[in-house]
């Protein structure tokens, strides 16, 4: 390793890099076990066809990851505190200089996220065993599932931007495969395509952002020529930013830093489904419910937020970029919450809810409260996974009925599901101080104190409003699904143990996970209770959030109001929703998703196809027909004309002979005539 680099890190009092020992090889195992399983399942027909074996392999690969992460977490990490386990190999080198490196990085942030991914993932993997039972190609499903986890873990452990991009794309692919799992359904294919393409658009910006950062850092540090590190490495970039300052590094006179940061955020916008690239997420419900749960809780949508936290050092100082991010987050939170209100499909309600919560996280990212975002990400992973799995359980129990208008009264028929759902709803709507209450309030508090964002007061108000809306739509869903009488035609039944056990486990975590991040000073001045923030202090920028009791009380009060309104409207509503009539035009706007999807459809169908048609017209008629065929036709026609001279008729030959003779004579005449005239 580069000696100067270590000196630099030591001087800053930064975490020490260790590239040997348990954690470093454990990281490789955690990362590649799911890939191995995915490969085996795909390539070996015997395993794929033995559904149970494939499932067992997948589950154990994730389980192994969980166990190893816990080991990494409890033994080496706790003892050494801020240690960073980084193990890097050169992957693509030009000559002797590394261009792209590949490696694993286990630091506090990565371990936290790995725990979330493997922990929540494990629960969902087990749950899927029950949910996918009877599906003939369950082996294929588990193969893709494992690939998905592999991709996500790759992002988590990535020590450099390029590797992040690699796994970023892989997450896109695996989500494509999973959303399109029911490939015989037209809508599933379309949804998969939509998800992939939306993410691709985000990746367009992401890659450009990466390239901008790479070029600046490479020029500034000459990292390109260094021993192992390339200018993509987070460590190198961070060093460059911290030693040179972002403004020097990114030639701030032209807003380079802000543009680069905004472009990097584009990637997060795609994966974390921020406005205006949020459209794919609700459609992604076409996949099996465990897929939705995994995608919405721990993996795909978390990737964007996680990536921004990972590279916060280029975002935080990038002029107007935080404002942009914060506002996009606020807008997403609000519009998603409003769209969730109009949904009748139980999974769609949760999908929009995810969008809305991601909006919160993005707000926190913009406000510089990266630990708060991470905290909400963690708590959200648990309770949202729980809610999705509950929804899956309901759907399973109601024989693949997803419309809440045909449910109702499931409280008694599916008691376990109901109880766990109830916990999840409380956690999400932040009515009691469990999970979401702590994390959401921390975000609101951060929005209040930040000085990085223009107009943060408006966003704060928006955030509080969204808290009320969240409570409203979640309790609406709860009343429609579990309250009243059963309105469907199937015979609802409680799900098997293999499905309810993960529910209970997740409910347990949803109840208690919030207590790891109680803000400092909650129990009197000077008390250090925010263990989570201390754990991730390296990623914190700006002042630490404090408990702001008035804000917490107001937010909770607004949520309570939302709950009460929902209770009033839906407690005895049966299958009828009185809201559309009351809200009128606003409802239609929400129900049509603010016409964003229509706009994109227009963009794709008319603009993109139009341009393609114009090019094809050019290709076909101008280039091929006019130029190429025209040239060929010209040659052919002139050949045909010339050919006719060979008529075989004596008269014609005489004629052409005479013409030739006349021309020669004329030429001679001109020559001689001139000469004679001159001679005269």
């Amino acid at each position: 390793m580069d000696g100067a680099f270590l000196t630099f890190l030591a001087a800053k009092g930064e975490p020490t890099l260790i590239n040997t020992g348990f954690a470093s090889w454990a990281a490789w195992v955690i990362l590649f076990a799911p890939l191995l399983v995915a490969f085996l399942v795909t390539a070996v027909p015997a395993i794929r066809k033995a559904n149970g074996l494939a499932a067992a392999l997948s589950i154990s690969s994730v389980g192994l990851g969980l166990v190893l992460t816990l080991f990494v977490y409890f033994f080496p990490m706790l003892q050494a505190g801020d240690n960073v386990y980084e193990h890097i190999v050169s992957w693509v080198a030009i000559g002797d200089s590394p261009l792209i490196t590949f490696g694993t990085r286990m630091d506090a942030l990565a371990v936290t996220m790995t725990l979330v991914v493997t922990g929540v993932g494990f629960a969902i993997f087990v749950y899927a065993l029950g949910y996918m039972k009877g599906d003939e190609s369950m082996g294929r499903f588990y193969g893709k599932f494992a690939l998905f986890v592999f991709s996500m873990l790759g992002i988590v452990m990535s020590p450099n931007f390029f590797q992040t991009f690699i796994f970023w794309e892989l997450v896109g692919v695996s989500s494509y495969l999973l959303i399109g799992y029911y490939w015989r359904k037209h809508s599933a294919g379309e949804a998969a395509k939509k998800a992939f393409m939306t993410n691709r658009v985000g990746d367009f910006g992401f890659l450009l952002g990466i390239l901008m950062v790479w070029a600046a850092v490479g020029d500034a540090t000459g990292a390109f020529g260094q021993d192992v590190y390339s200018a993509f490495d987070f460590t190198v970039i961070e060093r460059a930013v911290q030693t040179l300052g972002a403004s020097t590094l990114f030639w701030d006179s032209i807003g380079y830093a802000a543009i680069a940061a905004a472009l990097v955020f584009c990637g997060a916008m795609g994966k974390s489904a921020q406005f205006p690239l949020h459209v794919w997420l609700p459609d992604a419900m076409e996949g099996p419910t465990p897929v939705s749960a995994l995608m919405h809780a721990a993996t795909m949508v978390a990737a964007g937020v996680y990536m921004i936290i990972r590279c916060n050092f280029i975002i935080a100082y990038a002029e107007w970029a935080p404002t942009l991010i914060c506002w996009l987050g606020g807008i997403t939170a609000f519009i998603a919450a409003s769209m969730a209100i109009t949904q009748n499909d139980i999974k769609k309600v949760l999908a929009y809810s995810t969008l809305s919560q991601l909006g919160y996280m993005t707000m926190a990212l913009g406000a510089g409260a990266y630990t708060a975002a991470m905290f909400h990400l963690t708590t959200h992973a648990f309770f949202k996974a729980l809610l999705f799995l509950c929804a899956g359980s309901v759907i399973h129990g109601c024989h693949h009925e997803q419309d809440m208008r045909h449910m109702g009264g499931l409280k008694s028929k599916m008691p376990t599901t109901y109880k766990t759902w109830f916990v999840g709803t409380i956690a999400l709507t932040a009515l009691l101080p469990i999970a979401g209450w702590w994390s959401k309030d921390e975000i609101l508090g951060a929005t209040r104190i930040t000085d990085m964002v223009w107009g943060s007061e408006i966003l704060l108000a928006l955030g509080v409003l969204v808290a009320g809306m969240t409570a409203f739509y979640m309790w609406r869903a709860t009343y429609m699904t579990f309250g009243g009488e059963y309105r469907g035609h199937a015979k609802p039944h409680e799900s098997p143990k293999v499905m309810t056990m993960p529910l209970v486990a997740l409910a347990f975590f949803s109840l208690f996970i919030g207590f790891i991040g109680i803000p400092d000073g909650t129990f009197g001045a000077g008390t250090k209770t925010n263990w989570f923030e201390g754990w991730l202090h390296h990623w914190h920028v700006g002042p630490y959030a404090k408990m702001v009791w008035p804000l917490a009380i107001i937010a909770t009060g607004v949520a309570l109001v939302g709950f009460l309104i929902a209770r009033k409207i839906y407690r005895n509503a049966g299958g009828n929703d009185p809201l559309p009539a009351k809200l009128g035009g606003i409802w239609r706007l929400w129900d049509n998703l603010y016409y964003v999807d229509n706009f994109y459809l227009w963009l794709v169908k008319k603009v993109q196809q139009g341009v393609a048609k114009v090019f094809w017209f050019f290709e076909r008629w101008i280039l091929i027909q006019a130029v190429i065929n025209g040239l060929s036709q010209t040659v052919r026609i002139s050949g045909d004309r010339v050919r006719r001279v060979q008529s075989g008729r004596l008269g014609n030959y005489v004629t052409s002979f005479l013409l030739g003779a006349a021309v020669v004579g004329l030429l001679v005449l001109l020559q001689v005539g001139l000469a004679s005239a001159g001679g005269k």
């Binding site: 004629t655 005479l658 004679s676």
Partner: protein, 171 residues
């Protein structure tokens, strides 16, 4: 007197040539052509080329035209074949090319006259020329004897060619 005779013979030759190419019936053409040969022979005499004039009559009017007439009669062209050619038939390009060529030649002639290529009367007043058979014979068997021998081979070749062409039945 000489000039007047030249004009008379020349007019005769030109008129009969014109008549010759415009007749439908090849026999009539041939007969008019004979008249043209005579006209030209007259002019040869006026130009003091007596031997050439004699040969003109003997070879052209006598031998060649007789051969022509033989062939024409041998072929025995039927009337409808003779009349199959729509008269007058003036292919535009053919005429145009011919006219162009003639125009070029005529211009050349006029140009030459202008340029004084042709010797004027004073310059040619005293020249003598013997166009007798003896003079030509001396030249032919003296200076041009090799060419003369070659013409013999040419004629031989022509005879052989004609015999072969007419003898072999082409199917």
């Amino acid at each position: 007197m000489t000039v007047a005779l030249f004009l008379i013979f020349g007019a005769t030759a030109l008129a009969s040539a014109l008549l010759s190419v415009t007749r439908k019936n090849p026999v009539a053409s041939a007969m008019w052509l004979v008249l043209m040969f005579f006209g030209l022979a007259g002019n040869y005499v006026l130009l003091e080329a007596y031997f050439v004039a004699a040969v003109q009559i003997l070879v052209y009017a006598g031998a060649i035209m007789v051969l022509f007439l033989f062939v024409i009669m041998l072929l025995d062209l039927r009337r409808e074949q003779l009349e199959s050619e729509p008269q007058p038939r003036l292919p535009f390009f053919g005429v145009a090319a011919a006219v162009l060529f003639i125009a070029v030649a005529a211009i050349a002639l006029l140009d030459a006259v202008d340029a004084g290529v042709f010797p004027d009367a004073a310059a040619r007043s005293t020249l003598e020329l013997d166009g007798s058979a003896k003079a030509i014979g001396e030249s032919l068997f003296g200076t041009w004897v090799l060419a003369f021998e070659v013409t013999g081979f040419l004629l031989l070749g022509a005879i052989l060619g004609a015999v072969i062409l007419t003898k072999r039945r082409l199917t």
